[in-house]
């Protein structure tokens, strides 16, 4: 069975410091990998996705993520965090063998960026 793990319930970082949100997965074969962010009282917003090709994917708001096949990880990163990055972040995977591509989500990581 496929699964997604976000090992940290919360990540605290000072504004201007690097931000990393971890995600590991267990899916047969090579999955499609996504990151979404949820700001308070808003829906999930798409940040970036890995489909194929370059392991480093760049997305919205200065975020990037690196696909590491050997470690089955897809960590989200931002070189310099902003207070406005404080939100709930979800990692999601889709099994390439699933005909209709439903998402498997992690439990989410709350990011708190302090001024």
């Amino acid at each position: 069975a496929q699964s997604v793990a976000q090992p940290e319930d919360q990540v605290n970082v000072a504004e201007g410091n690097p931000l990393t949100v971890k995600c590991t997965y267990s899916v047969s074969g090579n999955p499609y990998l996504f990151w979404y962010v949820q700001y308070p009282n808003r829906g999930l917003q798409f940040l970036l996705k890995y489909i194929t090709g370059d392991n480093l994917v760049k997305g919205s708001y200065g975020f990037e993520a690196e696909f590491n096949k050997s470690q089955t990880s897809f960590h989200l990163k931002k070189p310099s965090a902003l207070v406005s990055d404080s939100a709930l972040y979800f990692c999601a995977v889709r099994d390439r063998t699933d005909s209709w591509g439903k998402f498997q989500f992690g439990a989410g990581t709350q990011v708190v960026v302090t001024p």
């Binding site: 009282n41 808003r42 989500f105």
Partner: protein
């Protein structure tokens, strides 16, 4: 372009009552998904429509949940009768076929359901 909208934003009902949630996808999106997040846990898939047809309803918890998508536009998710464990945030998402299962899904703001 309007995003995915959901109604209501919040619903508080008593155990045994009926609640209907509505989702309006982005115009022209054939794929419509329902997901649910129970407090503090992962977001779980419920079902997937392609136009008006249910393609995958493997995530529906039991027969108290009924989803419809008449005419392939908006969708409703009815819970009847509601139980305490149905509490959570119900998300709807839509996508436009193009890259197959690599399509990006666009999510609505969710409906927070509380069953007392």
């Amino acid at each position: 372009e309007a995003g995915v909208t959901q109604f209501p934003s919040h619903s508080v009902i008593e155990k045994g009552q009926t609640v209907t949630l509505r989702c309006d996808p982005i115009s022209g999106h054939d794929n419509l998904y329902w997901y649910r997040r129970v407090m503090g846990k992962e977001i779980k898939f419920l079902l997937h429509f392609v136009k008006e047809s249910k393609q995958d309803e493997s995530g529906m918890p039991n027969n108290r949940f009924l989803a419809e998508r008449t005419g392939g536009t908006y969708s409703t998710l009815k819970v009847q009768p509601a139980e305490l464990e149905d509490s959570g945030v119900y998300f709807c998402a839509s996508s436009q076929p193009g890259q197959g299962i690599a399509d990006t899904q666009y999510f609505g703001p969710g409906t927070r359901l509380t069953v007392l």
